[in-house]
Subunit: 162 residues, 4 copies
Amino acid sequence: MSDRALASPWRCSQWFNVAGEAPTLQHLRGKVIVLHAFQMLCPACVAHGVPLAEQIHRTADAKDLAVVGLHTVFEHHAAMTPVALEAYLHEYRITHPVGVDVHAPGQAIPATMAAYAMRGTPTLLVIDRAGRIRQHLFGPVDALALGMLLGGLMAESGEAST
Amino acid sequence: MSDRALASPWRCSQWFNVAGEAPTLQHLRGKVIVLHAFQMLCPACVAHGVPLAEQIHRTADAKDLAVVGLHTVFEHHAAMTPVALEAYLHEYRITHPVGVDVHAPGQAIPATMAAYAMRGTPTLLVIDRAGRIRQHLFGPVDALALGMLLGGLMAESGEAST
Amino acid sequence: MSDRALASPWRCSQWFNVAGEAPTLQHLRGKVIVLHAFQMLCPACVAHGVPLAEQIHRTADAKDLAVVGLHTVFEHHAAMTPVALEAYLHEYRITHPVGVDVHAPGQAIPATMAAYAMRGTPTLLVIDRAGRIRQHLFGPVDALALGMLLGGLMAESGEAST
Amino acid sequence: MSDRALASPWRCSQWFNVAGEAPTLQHLRGKVIVLHAFQMLCPACVAHGVPLAEQIHRTADAKDLAVVGLHTVFEHHAAMTPVALEAYLHEYRITHPVGVDVHAPGQAIPATMAAYAMRGTPTLLVIDRAGRIRQHLFGPVDALALGMLLGGLMAESGEAST
């Protein structure tokens, strides 16, 4: 499995639903990670993507899997501010950690979104226990198929996929 | 039908999806009016209320019925600004007129919401051709039952209900 | 409105959810009638058509509107027998009257279905207070638009449309 | 895992969607098995249970997982005959194997349903590669959680769970 790309770190300016230290790739090494990129005014994210990310967070055992939300604003920047995001997360009862993807000066596309070459929102990435990207999905995600993938990856030992 | 309350005018600081003059009760007199109060970060509004209002707007004949959206922000004021509302309406392809309910200084509840004694969002009001309130619904609305009511009111002459 | 076709009588071999006399066009004259043709093993009927017919039955005032279900079996005759239909109606909690469309000897298409030139199931017909067909829909039906039509027709006097 | 019950063989009088030999526990040993019990006139089965079973059948790799449908008729016996079941499977485009659970003379509850002590329909059982029951669900099933379970079980070797 040496041909699977190693996930790059995400870079966030601010976090919500995080009590202590912000989650990093390094801290989460050893767990399966679901990295979910969304925008709070993207209809498909609100209707499907974010609820599915939240459902994974509530369903899977936290010692085996971590869900990380990423607010990757690439349009309507004045509308989707951190203040607005906070209200959104509150109203929609979202409890998983959500970071605000940083913008390099003058760039519409935020840094992590660019580093992962995401095509838009919602995007869902699955990273295995060894830190390698195993799935990169843009658009609608089938819950059953994703569940099967996650169940299989959780059954792997961290070393197995290096 | 003299016991039905006459609708009060709405007061808006700004309008979206309006080309010329802002819609007023007076201008719309003679038509059935659906007045739909919502907040752009209220989950039930986004999932059900606003789409239904838009569907009425697209289904009914504009010479018989008018849909007026009202952004009645009573919480998360810093998040649900007119700039954010504009982005929301664009992303969700909302085409019916939407006004921003005005706030009196120091009041969390906006003016029109207070005048109509609305309990929250989404709220849907139906006003007949003669300007009288015939329905005031808070929460989920059944499309079939609402359609029957609107069909009946559109069949009334404007004078019939005074 | 003299160009609207007068509805023909339906012909049924058996009725369910009828206590006394079977409903006929003549008995229902003066009411708006929703005639709903379905098959109990037609997926779109089970998922959408029959539940909508039942919802109309439960929503509208029985003195103004009558819903008549019609089991128009044109395929899988050995599967969709009256005994099977009865079990279906029981399991799905259908309470509106349902008649079994009669078959002329050797005909796959039952008699009423043929007389109305229905294209398949589900088919929904709306008949006004004067007995004239005002709507003939094959396939998916929008509840809001149908509600508007029914509300308007219920507002007509029986004489108006003759 | 010695405390997990070994699955008992199912007993069917007839099969649909099976080209050659009928599927047995023995033949499928080594695969994860989803055994789905339903009735063709049970609303929750038609709306949720059977479509989910079919989705699993179409999603999972056939060399790792097998879906077996079981028509466990315990009411309305005259309505839910094999002829009616065949029409149902055809109309709903169900492609996974479905067996008709046998009835002992005079028993309303069919034999396999009784042997597994199923409480009703829909019931979903998950059997691991070693033939042991790992999940027994009555009623609604969450696709994500089920997917995680199945993904984990498919990652097990057949010997691991004996």
